[in-house]
């Protein structure tokens, strides 16, 4: 029983953390442009790294 006193708050806390992370990512606009995010990985970097010789 004493184990529960620790485990339940931890489980709830982690769940809440996940919920907060989801709400924050939504507010931050992470899901506004899903197709764009998929395409952006194909864009080359502005300036390729200088390579010697």
């Amino acid at each position: 029983m004493t184990g529960l006193a620790f485990l339940i708050p931890i489980a709830l806390g982690m769940g809440l953390l996940g919920l907060v992370a989801f709400l924050w990512s939504m507010r931050d606009g992470q899901y506004d442009d899903m197709d764009g995010a998929a395409n952006r990985i194909l864009i080359d970097d502005d300036e390729p790294l200088e390579q010697d010789a």
Partner: protein, 707 residues
């Protein structure tokens, strides 16, 4: 790095942000080009593209106007229109609210389920009581928050003395929560918190999918809109001009309309001669010459030369606004359409509620206590709560609309798919729908020299025939000849000098051929003919429609001769020279016969018919108003998406019916168990999730339906 440039708050305050819609953004390269090249223009600090919404937000120096920014985008090869409205429209807000509710319900479901599993695996006594209290503590606020969309909609329906799918859902969830709370306070054995929260989670998933589908396609359509004349250059008595928004124009004002500009109000030409493109109003593809005294309408485009127009009717009084009103009225009938989920719930809700009531009465008569009878009645409500039914429709529709989207067809919402599936007769507009709406020149007879001269002349003009000629030459790889002294005389043609010879593109003699031009080089003259060709797959599309059992005919505002020619070529019936009112009347007549017409059209003159039809589709090149009125918009030169839309819509409805069938079969199995009092919270939870998963899996079969 392709992340946006971070702007410090101090910098940002001094900058203005303007949003543009850029329909031409098609690939990663376009995003990269816009975001990399625009900040190189002086005055622009950063640009951020939203690929899904086809929009670009530009942070810039306030001194830089919209025109300069549009020009900068144009220089990169993207056509762009500034967007004024709030980027977070009502649809986006609704979607975000649903996503938040879904997140909260998901959190509640996982945690309550964690506690419930312990109870099912044997926790009892004080532990069970503690877990029930914890479940209540989590579940009640979650239900209060995540259930709001359902409670609000159910309340709306009930207060209008109607019922919809949300009424049985709300009753089930609320009763289950109350019973569970009672069980918890009295230390009872069974609490249904996890069932209530899980039900909300699955149903919210359905709603969120539905909202996602609407915002995604509406963003696509929004990106195509906005080509109408929204302001005009008013000439003051002292000769100076200023830009006035269309809504503030007044009759009697004198406006200057540049070549290529759209008219913002109806008026009479006061000075100058030009040709106007009236395709939006009449569907007629040949340009119409106008001179002093001629009447011009808002929405038409001035093609060749600047003219002065004295305004007669503005804003709400223009011919275009009149058509918009017709469309509004014609669209009323569509708002009374009852979607399949609500039709199902009309049959379903009374059955479920009377079953629960009968179970309660039966157990009371059989001598069980009121507590046990009530528990059983609520178990019946929970087990029959239309979880799978709530998912049955949106899951299938969202998969289908995604499949259609990949083929270039944007369906506005689920109700559009349902109505598309029911159509049994198709009416097609000619210009711009069956045909491409842009004249194409036949240059096969010209030699290389003539082609070069023709291109040199044609590319100097905005006239649709010149554009068609220039496009045909460019496709053939012609290099333009260097022509000097090019002059354009409205209604006559283009003249110029090439290697000391007089060259010209002129209106041919004789009125017979409206779509032709004469190329004159020195004394030699050749006639170039134009055709507004059929979309290449028009015949195949009609065959595909026939295969689905739909009869097609043409309903056009164009002259009888070209309409009949195309009708004969395609082998279908046709009605020509139909006014917007006549098109609307034809639609009403079909509906009165009990037919369900599908209208496909692009012009503003098709608008009322598009709004009145049982379902409607417009091409992406259609007028703004027509795209707004249509249920779906297709992009590109192929006409096949129209037939595809009907086929996929029908397949979707078949899957939806299968899903319903499955839900009902599941209920037939589960209800006797519930009525006999054998359903425990564990059985309810398993039954609910299995039925939902089966429905989703069945709907996913539609993913390849458009191939």
């Amino acid at each position: 790095m392709n992340a946006p440039l971070a702007l410090s708050a101090k910098d940002a305050s001094a900058l203005a942000t303007t949003r543009f819609t850029v329909p031409g953004m098609k690939c990663a390269g376009c995003i990269g080009k816009i975001e990399r090249e625009l900040p190189k223009v002086s005055g622009i600090t950063a640009a951020r593209a939203n690929f899904s919404a086809k929009r670009v937000a530009i942070n810039h120096d306030p001194a830089l106007g919209e025109d300069a920014l549009t020009a900068a985008l144009q220089a990169l090869g993207f056509e762009a229109q500034p967007v004024t409205e709030n980027p977070l429209g009502a649809d986006t807000k609704e979607r975000k609210r649903l996503n938040r509710a879904l997140g909260v319900a998901g959190f509640g479901m996982m945690n309550v389920m964690l506690l419930s599993v312990s109870i099912w695996s044997g926790a009892d006594g004080a532990t069970r009581e503690l877990f029930h209290w914890l479940s209540a503590l989590i579940a009640l606020p979650v239900i209060a928050y995540a259930g709001r969309p359902f409670f609000a909609s159910a309340w709306m329906a009930l207060s209008h003395r109607r019922t919809n799918m949300d009424v049985p859902i709300s009753i089930g969830v609320i009763l289950a929560s109350l019973l569970s709370l009672y069980e918890t306070t009295t230390g009872g054995g069974h609490a249904y918190f996890e069932s209530a929260v899980m039900l909300l989670f699955f149903l919210l998933a359905g709603r969120a999918l539905d909202a996602e589908m609407r915002t995604r396609t509406r963003a696509g359509i929004g990106a195509l809109l906005g080509r109408m004349g929204k302001s005009a250059s008013v000439i003051a008595p002292d000769g100076s001009t200023r830009r006035v928004p269309a809504a503030s124009l007044e009759p009697g004002m004198l406006v200057l309309v540049a070549a290529g500009e759209a008219f913002a109000a109806d008026g009479e030409v006061a000075e100058g001669a030009s040709a106007i493109d009236n395709a939006m109003l009449t569907g007629e593809s040949a340009p119409e010459p106008v001179g002093p005294g001629a009447v011009v309408h808002a929405g038409a485009i001035n093609l060749s030369a600047p003219i002065r127009v004295s305004l007669t009717r503005v804003a709400e009084d223009t011919a275009i606004a009149e058509i918009a009103r017709l469309m509004d009225e014609a669209g009323q009938s569509r708002s009374t359409y009852v979607r399949i989920a609500d039709r199902a719930s009309r049959l379903y809700a009374p059955v479920v509620h009377s079953l629960a009531l009968l179970a309660f009465a039966g157990w009371m008569i059989a001598g069980a206590g009121w507590h046990q009878s009530l528990t059983i009645a609520i178990a019946v409500l929970i087990i029959t709560c239309p979880c799978a039914m709530g998912l049955a429709v949106p899951a299938a529709q969202v998969v289908a609309s995604g499949a259609l989207l990949r083929r270039g067809l944007l369906v506005k919402d689920g109700s559009a798919l349902e109505r598309l599936a029911e159509c049994d007769v198709v009416l097609l507009d000619k210009t711009g729908t069956l045909t491409l709406g842009a004249p194409r020149a036949d240059i096969a007879a010209l030699d290389a020299e003539a082609r070069a001269v023709a291109l040199g002349l044609a590319q100097a003009s905005r006239h649709p025939l010149s554009r068609g000629l220039a496009a045909a030459c460019l496709r053939a790889g012609v290099e333009p000849a260097a022509i000097t002294d090019i002059a354009e005389v409205s209604g006559k043609g283009l003249t110029g000098t090439w290697q000391g010879l007089c060259v010209a593109l002129e209106k041919p003699e004789g009125e017979g051929q409206a779509l032709a031009t004469t190329l004159r080089i020195g004394d030699a003259a050749q006639t170039i003919t134009f055709a507004d060709p059929l979309r290449t797959d028009a015949g195949a599309m009609l065959a595909a429609l026939r295969h689905e059992g739909l009869t097609a005919s043409i309903l056009s505002g164009d002259r009888a001769a070209p309409v009949d020619a195309i009708a004969a070529e395609l082998g279908i019936a046709a009605q020509a020279e139909a006014s917007p009112q006549a098109k609307l009347a034809a639609m009403e007549a079909l509906k009165a016969e009990g037919r369900r017409p599908l209208m496909v059209g692009d012009g503003l003159n098709d608008g009322p018919a598009l709004a009145a039809a049982h379902a409607s589709i417009a091409p992406g090149t259609a007028s703004d108003a027509s795209q707004q009125a249509a249920d779906a918009v297709f992009i590109g030169e192929a006409l096949m998406p129209v037939a595809l839309a009907v086929r996929v819509a029908r397949k979707t409805m078949r899957i939806v019916r299968e899903n319903f069938g499955f839900s009902i079969a599941y209920n037939l199995l589960a209800v006797p168990l519930a009525v006999l009092g054998l359903v425990t919270p564990l059985i309810a939870a398993i039954a609910m999730s299995v039925s939902s998963l089966v429905v989703v899996a069945n709907s996913l079969r539609l993913a390849r339906s458009a191939n």
